[in-house]
């Protein structure tokens, strides 16, 4: 994909000008327009059956429904906080569905759509945001690591894991690869840049998937970079590519190709998924303080879910009964996660002393016993009441 620094290149087949403003062209791989029109790209052929497209649509709708329910639960005091993925469903579902079962994913705290694709129960995510645990799922069971909240730290974990794959001799035919998720803000972190260097010099089988959602809380992309983020890869010595992050087809195709290259031993790729955080940074944030409503309205026209629906309607692949069924399933998923959240028990107070060390630890054990005795000292009073 040939783009100059200004992006002032006419759109090639399968490429799109995402901003649509003169002088600020943002060219990216696009296989499905916001209107639901299918495009072909010479480097990213994608052959999906109608059922496969419907499955992607179902993923998009359900993860948005889970997200909507989580926001509501936070507003009702049932979750302490929630980091909404609204607007980023295609980037997450497209990349998540590009992974093989043996590939490993390292998420930030917003990758609910990827978690869905990896089979993590949404209630495990709610545990974290409700304050019941700090995550708690088994990363090896889902090949999906725990959410990492310190920005960018997981990029190094992903790279180290990829170095482990190399040492296991699992690069090449039937190989495995790793995907590291992070955002535009994280691209400024030292850890992300160090991960680029490690992955590059060791040719590690890792794909860096940057969801550029334009905002790092209140700071726009311009505060992180004066060049397109995917251009940074060149300086580190590996390919970078930008994809329409609201196009689930393009995200799927581009991630598939990069993962396959990594598995085969061609080393890392940086994918910049150009998307938009349609909601607040988290439920504690107020975007009206730093961005204009018109921006959100423009991005609503590029909605990642609606364009797949338009495609299904346009091609006649799905009828009203299909959409009704998905909506009904979404409502049911919403009820399930809501009920699951409301009935989620708090951990025992002594749980804080568990799982700190693998081996017996005298200090933790002693403090646990002191604390348990302290709690027990109230037992008589409770009975008296």
């Amino acid at each position: 994909m040939a783009v100059d620094a200004d992006g002032a290149v006419a759109a090639a087949p399968g490429s799109a000008d995402l901003d649509g403003q003169a002088g600020s062209r943002v060219e990216a791989v696009q296989l499905l327009t916001p209107e639901g029109e299918r495009l072909e790209h010479p480097d990213y052929p994608l052959d999906l059956t109608a059922d496969e497209v419907k499955a992607l649509y179902r993923d998009l709708v359900l993860v948005r429904r889970i997200d909507t329910e989580a926001i509501a639960l936070q507003r009702q005091g049932e979750l302490g906080i929630w980091a909404s993925l609204l607007g980023q469903e295609a980037a997450q579902v497209g990349s998540g569905r590009a992974l093989g079962p043996r590939d490993m994913a390292f998420p930030t705290y917003r990758e609910h759509g990827v978690a869905w694709c990896r089979g993590v129960d949404p209630l495990k995510l709610f545990e974290l945001f409700r304050g019941v645990s700090h995550g708690g799922w088994d990363p090896a069971e889902h090949n999906f690591h725990l959410y990492t909240i310190v920005i960018g730290a997981q990029a190094l974990h992903a790279t180290g894991y990829a170095m482990g794959i190399q040492r296991d001799g699992l690069v090449g035919e039937d190989g495995e690869a790793v995907i590291a998720y992070f955002g535009d803000g994280a691209s400024s972190e030292g850890d992300v840049n160090e991960a680029f260097i490690w992955a590059s010099v060791f040719n590690a089988p890792v794909v860096f998937f940057c969801q550029n959602n334009q905002w790092a809380i209140s700071e726009p992309l311009e505060r992180q970079s004066r060049i397109p983020l995917y251009h940074r890869a060149e300086g580190f010595g590996f390919p970078g590519i930008r994809v329409d992050g609201n196009d689930v087809f393009a995200c799927l195709a581009v991630t598939r190709k990069a993962m396959q290259a990594a598995r085969e031993g061609q080393g890392p790729t940086l994918i910049e998924a150009y998307t938009y955080r349609m909601g607040a940074h988290t439920t504690t944030d107020d975007p009206t303080r730093y961005r204009l409503a018109g921006e959100l309205e423009a991005w609503k026209l590029k909605d990642p879910v609606e364009r797949v629906k338009a495609y299904l309607v346009r091609t006649g692949a799905a009828d009203a009964a299909f959409f009704d069924a998905i909506d009904a399933e979404a409502a049911e998923v919403g009820r399930t996660v809501r009920n699951g959240c409301l009935s989620m028990p708090d951990p025992e107070p002594t749980a804080m002393f568990e799982n700190i060390y693998a081996e017996p630890n005298a200090l933790v054990q002693a403090e646990r016993e002191q604390f348990a005795a302290y709690l027990d000292s109230f037992a008589d009073q409770e009975v008296a009441r």
């Binding site: 645990s133 700090h134 995550g135 708690g136 799922w137 088994d138 990363p139 090896a140 069971e141 690591h145 725990l146 990492t148 310190v150 730290a153 990029a155 190094l156 974990h157 992903a158 790279t159 180290g160 894991y161 990829a162 170095m163 482990g164 794959i165 190399q166 040492r167 296991d168 030292g190 850890d191 160090e194 991960a195 260097i197 490690w198 010099v201 568990e354 799982n355 700190i356 060390y357 693998a358 081996e359 630890n361 005298a362 200090l363 933790v364």
Partner: protein, 327 residues
């Protein structure tokens, strides 16, 4: 029995671990061809290859962060931080990631990562090459922190640390790297003193002197000098700084009634403060004097031409011992 320097003892311990478990890796700056700036990893890359003894890019957060990823994949990385003052770029990866992976996963993850840090002063170095940052890590739940003081312990403790399923910050007293002692390398790992145990180095009934790392030798020399004054110092090498072997500490102080803690790190907020609090709580009725601390002053590590005035030495230890008898 073989006579080894402390650095060679760690080298031999690393070699044993590399031989025993193919998942053990060594990674750090200059650890390969050069064998480390202190030659602690000398010859290991030649014998175990570049995949297992890895010369990394020059970024400490990257070393620890990728070690975490390797551990998630089933490896047991041993990271070398070249000097104490360079551990701070890796601080987030150590305290927020390495120490917390297990809790975050509710016990699904183990993190068998060792981070070797040459620490302490007395070698005439420039800034950042003489520091004692152990308290930062001892303060962090989820980490184990140990310090070796001589060749015999170094040989066994590095192997025990690598065998541990928990992350271990392994402090090496850099000015004692060239100290020599006999090491029985034919013994079995399981017979060594447990990594959680302190070691009583000299027995005595008058004052308990608690120390670790480079100050152990200083305190043993002080004990020899004190004997001439008719005072018997019980020098205990703590070895494990987190968790502390409070049983050994408390048993000794209850017998002697006096306690001096010695380390190179600044005393404010240091290990000595923690130990003094615990000893006071557990030995209150046996104490004849307050627990005294001998350590660095609450100033940044000074330029090397005056470091001898900053570092505790035999005279400062004996001065503190005298003070415990003045109460």
């Amino acid at each position: 029995m073989t006579v080894l320097t402390l650095s060679k003892a760690i080298n031999e311990g690393l070699r044993k671990s590399l031989e025993a478990d193919p998942k053990v890796l060594i990674m750090g700056e200059d650890v390969g061809k050069l064998g480390g700036v202190f030659r602690v990893t000398d010859g290991l890359q030649k014998d175990f290859g570049e995949a297992r003894v890895v010369d990394t890019p020059l970024a400490e957060s990257g070393i620890v962060g990728t070690a975490i990823g390797l551990a998630l994949r089933g490896y047991r990385p041993v990271c070398e931080i070249q000097f104490d003052g360079f551990v701070f770029p890796a601080f987030d990866q150590i305290v927020s990631q390495l120490a917390k992976q297990r809790l975050r996963s509710l016990g699904h993850i183990t993190m068998p990562v060792v981070i070797r840090v040459p620490f302490g002063g007395g070698i005439g170095a420039v800034e950042h090459h003489s520091e004692s940052p152990e308290a930062y890590f001892a303060h962090t739940p989820g980490l184990r922190v140990v310090a070796c003081s001589g060749p015999e312990d170094a040989y066994w403790m590095i192997q025990q640390s690598i065998a541990s399923d928990d992350p271990v910050i392994f402090f090496e007293p850099k000015r004692r790297y060239w100290d020599k002692a006999e090491v029985d390398t034919t013994a079995a790992l399981g017979e060594a003193l447990p990594l959680t145990s302190a070691r009583t180095v000299t027995e005595g009934s008058d004052v308990t002197v608690l120390t670790y790392g480079p100050m152990v030798r200083t305190c043993v020399e002080a004990a020899v000098a004190a004997r001439e004054d008719g005072r018997a110092l019980e020098v205990i090498d703590l070895r494990s700084l987190a968790p502390l072997d409070t049983e050994t500490i408390v048993a000794s102080v209850r017998r002697t009634g006096r306690c001096v803690v010695v380390h190179e790190a600044p005393v404010t907020g240091g290990l000595g403060a923690e130990i003094a609090a615990r000893v006071t709580q557990e030995c209150f009725y046996q104490l004849e004097a307050p627990v005294l601390r001998v350590g660095g002053y609450s100033v940044p590590y000074p330029p090397s031409r005056i470091e001898e005035h900053y570092l505790p030495d035999l005279d400062r230890v004996l001065d503190a011992v005298d003070h415990t008898f003045a109460f």
